[in-house]
């Protein structure tokens, strides 16, 4: 295998494997938030605020995978 094909395969693997965890994580975050809203609809404003912060932190991990994918591909 030459270096170019190794780079392509590893880029695909990095992004593909890297988004599994954050995918599950965002699902858990949103599931928790929706349950909380279901139990206490009055507090939905605060819950949604914190949900977005949680999603942002979780999603950042997927973004790191994407960044590393780009670094592998273009360096």
């Amino acid at each position: 295998m030459d270096i170019e094909s190794a780079k392509l395969i590893s880029m695909g693997l990095v992004v593909g494997l890297g988004v599994i965890g954050p995918g599950i994580g965002i699902g858990l975050v949103v599931a928790g938030a929706l349950q909380a809203i279901g139990r206490n609809p009055e507090a939905s404003g605060k819950i949604i605020t914190n949900m977005f912060i949680g999603i942002a932190f979780t999603e950042a991990l997927a973004i790191f995978a994407l960044v590393i994918g780009f670094i592998i591909k273009y360096t």
Partner: protein, 266 residues
């Protein structure tokens, strides 16, 4: 890339001014900025104290986000200062994203040679597919957040959030917070870039396979994604500002805020 579909990570340069290349994404962002400025100028020219029709709609569109910002920050003076920045980010990102979905974008252009290969260069291309633009917005958001924190808490107190010698654990947590503060630059810029770029590639691929009816739901989805990403960018700026202006010391003297108590008695 192979025949029929051309995907570029870097934006294509339309022409050069000196050593600065004017790219199609830059032209899009510039056009959107000019349109927004013109809209703001003409929409606010004939304001009356008693709003009617068009002005009432505009006021509703501005007051609702303003109330949200004020409620989130819980500080009227800071909300007055932060709201223009946050709303500008939202409006600019939203306009750039939606402008990128218009029919003439990425379809009218010129043929020019890029690195020796003849390539089709559109005049307009979705602005957020250029990392330069999203990184610029991320830097603006980053400095807005940091300056809001420093102005509200004072430089020493704000630095104390990150570098503390109270306990070894607090020190480590502070270092981690400092890193996560800097990492926001990457996550902010790549979130917007990744979403819009992936959306553009998705639409291009769908258009290559089924050019007639199938792209419509995907374009509708892209409209939604464009709005959501604009909202996320603005909301995260707001929430991180809220985190920056708060001192996270253990202040559990009043577990139930006074507002909640009033609410419970009703």
């Amino acid at each position: 890339m192979h025949e029929g579909i051309s995907i570029h990570l870097a934006p294509l340069a339309l022409f050069h001014i000196g050593t600065i290349s004017v790219t199609n994404t830059f032209l899009t962002a510039l056009t959107v900025s000019i349109l927004l400025i013109l809209f703001a100028f003409f929409a606010t020219r004939a304001l009356t104290l008693k709003p009617s029709g068009f002005q009432a709609i505009l006021e509703l569109l501005i007051t609702y986000p303003y109330d949200f910002v004020r409620d989130t920050l819980g500080n009227d003076r800071l909300a007055e200062r932060m709201f223009p920045v946050i709303m500008t980010i939202f409006l600019f990102v939203l306009s750039v994203n939606w402008f990128g979905l218009l029919p003439f974008v990425a379809s009218i252009g010129i043929h020019a040679s890029v690195q020796g290969i003849s390539e089709f260069i559109p005049f307009f291309y979705p602005g957020a597919t250029d990392l330069n633009m999203t990184l610029a917005l991320a830097i603006i958001a980053f400095f807005t957040i940091e300056i809001a924190g420093i102005v509200t808490l004072g430089a020493l107190k704000y630095a104390g959030k990150f570098i503390t010698f109270k306990s070894p654990l607090a020190f480590v947590v502070g270092i981690i917070e400092l890193i996560s503060e800097l990492v926001r630059l990457i996550s902010f810029s790549f979130r917007l870039f990744g979403n819009i770029f992936a959306g553009k590639v998705l639409v291009l691929v769908i258009m290559l396979f089924v050019p007639m009816i199938l792209p419509v739901p995907f374009l509708a989805f892209e409209t939604f994604v464009g709005f959501i990403q604009a909202a996320i960018f603005a909301l995260l700026t707001l929430f991180f500002t809220k985190i920056a202006i708060e001192l996270h010391e253990e202040e559990h003297s009043s577990p139930v805020p006074s507002g909640e108590k009033v609410h419970l008695t009703i």
